[in-house]
């Protein structure tokens, strides 16, 4: 395959942002009819490289050729004209307009200068049908599920004469079925000779769909490999650039949980999305929660922490009946929730690290008893050091931090109010492998210090590695709770995914 001429060839690309070099002399190529993955930690230069190919930014040095022609893109529009289409991670479509308009906006068929709505609907219906998507093109996009919106975004991308399709984290908000649907479409496009760049944090998906992997680290090229010739462990090692033994398994609490007093015990908790959940969490225990998207993971977390008021069921805290009417009440009892949407429901991006960390503590103390700035700084510094938050300058606005460090700031804020039970909803989503491991280790340390943790994650390995016990959710019910020592990824997968299949 190497003899074929690459469709996209980026040579010696360098991009600087002020003093920092985001991309340093990187070579990158893509072949027609191949799915190519770009791997690397956050800050490795993946998104910068993608932006250089899609015309969002112009490299300071280096050349880009597409199908043998040298090109320079001044805008995403230029790139689209040259056959490079992009589907972004956050679906960048317009929920208020119809599906047909979203597919064809900017290229609407016109008659006498006016948009021919019917022709547009027919054209859109054809393109959607090509993708095996039978939805009403005249319906507003906003009424469809995220997965369908994602496919509509792809329909838009391929409705032009597409040669190169860039998919940036396309699966991060999809469940397993939806991912399968997406992969079917990708394979079909591959057949048509489209070169596809597939960027994802999920190694499983990369190995399932990709033919070729390019690894970046710290803005430099590590190498380009065929997927079949690169072992996973090697891939991770190349991405991290350090010994993989860094993954350390947590030492398990040997005592059986039944013998301990449950710190929190919930019986028959129901709210929107979760029905009749029984949960027991002992002091110093990590309860992992596994389940697909929509299985009630987040609903359970929100019901346990007073964010959503349960419609029925009782929650007992240290053997005493408790009602969590509000997150505030739960907080005062030491039960805290860390949302999966750290940007929208967690941090205040414009505020500095120190302000973000002091926020919850200040709220708990009340507005009248102001925390002295010196005290807040001292507090922040100690947490920055304890959690190894980078950059260590506590006056940096949080939005400048990488995902992993933002997550740590959020943890620091919650830990600052000395909670008894911490409910972490997908704390490692969208952050790089290194930071992931650090957060997993942190959770282990916290539990060893007597903190109870509920750890929700979409990644089964992670749930198994971190949790002492794992509660498995399916369709809004807890179907089983088992010690993680008794499970492995395959058996857990079987429990999570298919109820009617015999145990793997």
């Amino acid at each position: 395959m190497d003899e074929a001429r690459p469709l996209v060839e980026l040579t010696d690309a360098t991009v600087r942002f002020g003093a920092t070099v985001a991309l340093d002399g990187v070579d990158f190529r893509m072949f027609a009819g191949e799915v190519h993955s770009l791997m690397g930690e956050n800050g490795a230069g993946k998104s910068t490289l993608i932006k250089a190919i899609t015309g969002v930014l112009a490299p300071d040095a280096g050349t880009l050729t597409i199908a043998g022609d040298r090109v320079t893109f001044a805008s995403p529009h230029d790139a689209q004209d040259a056959g490079v289409s992009t589907v972004y991670q956050e679906i960048d479509l317009l929920p208020n307009l119809s599906v047909a308009e979203n597919v064809l906006l900017g290229r609407e068929p016109r008659r006498l200068g006016l948009i021919a709505h019917r022709t547009m609907r027919e054209r859109a219906a054809e393109i959607l049908a090509d993708l095996g998507l039978a939805i009403d093109p005249a319906s507003p996009l906003g009424i469809h599920s995220l997965a369908i919106q994602q496919l509509v975004a792809i329909a838009r991308a391929i409705s032009t004469d597409v040669k190169v399709l860039v998919l940036d984290e396309p699966t991060s908000s999809l469940d397993l079925d939806e991912v399968a649907e997406l992969f079917r479409v990708i394979r079909e496009l591959k057949q048509r000779g489209v070169a596809i760049l597939f960027v994802s944090h999920f190694l499983d998906q990369v190995y399932e769909i990709c033919d070729r992997i390019t690894v970046l680290r710290d803005g430099r090229l590590v190498g380009e490999y065929l997927t079949t010739e690169l072992l996973r462990i090697d891939l991770v090692q190349k991405m991290l650039g350090r010994e993989v033994s860094f993954f350390k398994a947590r030492e398990r609490i040997e005592a059986a949980p039944e013998e301990q007093e449950a710190f929190l015990s919930a019986r028959g908790v129901s709210s929107a999305g979760i029905a009749g959940a029984d949960v027991d969490i002992a002091e110093g225990e990590v309860l992992g929660i596994a389940g697909l998207l929509g299985s009630g993971r987040t609903a359970l977390a929100r019901a346990l922490t007073g964010v959503d008021r349960p419609t029925s069921g009782i929650i007992r805290l240290e053997q005493r009946d408790t009602r969590f009417d509000s997150p505030r009440k739960a907080l005062s009892l030491g039960v805290v929730y860390s949302s999966e949407n750290r940007r929208t429901e967690g941090l205040v991006g414009e505020m500095s690290i120190v302000q973000n960390i002091a926020l919850a503590l200040q709220a708990q103390k009340g507005a009248l008893r102001r925390i002295a700035p010196a005290r807040a700084r001292e507090l922040a510094l100690s947490w920055v050091e304890a959690l190894d938050i980078r950059p260590a300058d506590i006056d940096t606005p949080v939005r400048h931090l990488s995902g992993g460090n933002q997550q740590k700031v959020m943890l620091a804020r919650l830990l600052a109010i000395s909670p008894r039970l911490l409910v972490l909803d997908e704390p490692t989503r969208g952050i790089d492998v290194g930071a992931k491991v650090e957060i997993q280790n942190l959770v282990g340390e916290m539990a060893d210090n007597g903190l109870s943790v509920v750890f929700i994650s979409a990644e089964l390995e992670e749930v198994l590695r971190v949790g002492d016990r794992v509660a498995i959710l399916r369709d809004g019910r807890i179907v089983e709770t088992a010690a993680s020592a008794d499970l492995d990824v395959d058996s857990l997968m079987a429990l999570v995914a298919r109820p009617d299949l015999p145990e793997a």
């Binding site: 906006l105 609407e108 948009i115 079925d177």
Partner: protein, 339 residues
Amino acid sequence: MTAVESRPDTTPGVVAKISTFTSRHASVLPTFAAVAILICLLVGAELYFGNFLTPRNMSALLLDNAYLMILAVGMTFVIVTAGIDLSVGSVMAFTGIFGASLLASGVPAWIVVPAMLVAGALIGLLIGVLVQHFDVQPFIASLAGLFLARGLAFVVSLASIRVEDTSLLWLQSTRIRLGDWYVTPTGIIAILTVVVGAVVMHKTRFGRTVYAVGGSEQSARLMGLKVARAKVMVYVISGLCGGLAGLVLTAYSGAGYPRNGIGTELDVIAAVVIGGTLLTGGRGYVLGSMIGVFVYGTIKTIISFMGAEQSWTHIIVGALLLLFIVVQRAIVARSERGS
């Protein structure tokens, strides 16, 4: 297969048709509500007064509110992009007094009329440039436009200037009759503005870009749409409508007056919102805004029929506005849950 939805039944039952329609046009519902309210008001007033739905009264409704309708068309463009234009009342006053003073000093109408429109469009352009290129909040930028236009109006004249020009007065005095119904050229201008506005909004790329900007500016930009141009243009259109409304109002009142239209911008915004346009942008109809103006005008007429204080108009419009904003929130919340 969660990723594949079936298309609504192609052999059309009435229920299927209705469900297709509502799923396609959920955003029209507030406008239908406005139509329903208008009908209720008209029928109710007729039952109460007995002489409300007369051709004369209905014709006057269009005549009296022509300037408001023109302003509402421009405002709809701005609000659909999630902006706001507070300057329209002042722009109307300024272009009105500006035109009246030019006419008084002997400038012919065929120069004065384009000059009024250009003056309005220029103030709109200023606001648009401030919003788009200097990143000023629309509220603040158009507030600056409001003060500028009002100040300019007082610079032109502190007192009202009578218009003697026959061609301008013709716009108002001519009554094209059909039985007891009549329409003046100012009414025709208003209706034409609505029609042109509606066609531009729904049938041109510019119009769809306006909706796209209101839906998500960032997405619209990544889709390669001409966002900057659209955002400036909506304020230019609103300013142009301000100029046109100045012309119509001057013809209507037979004079230019620098204190005209104080607070009119708020009446216009109220009419647009009652007509079903979402203040957060992305949804709305020019035709809906026309209905909104009719609702507003009908309430005003009813109040004067009852002989009550005109301040009741504002109280009732305020209550309606509140109701509509709540209804819109509910509809938006429902459609967001659906996704």
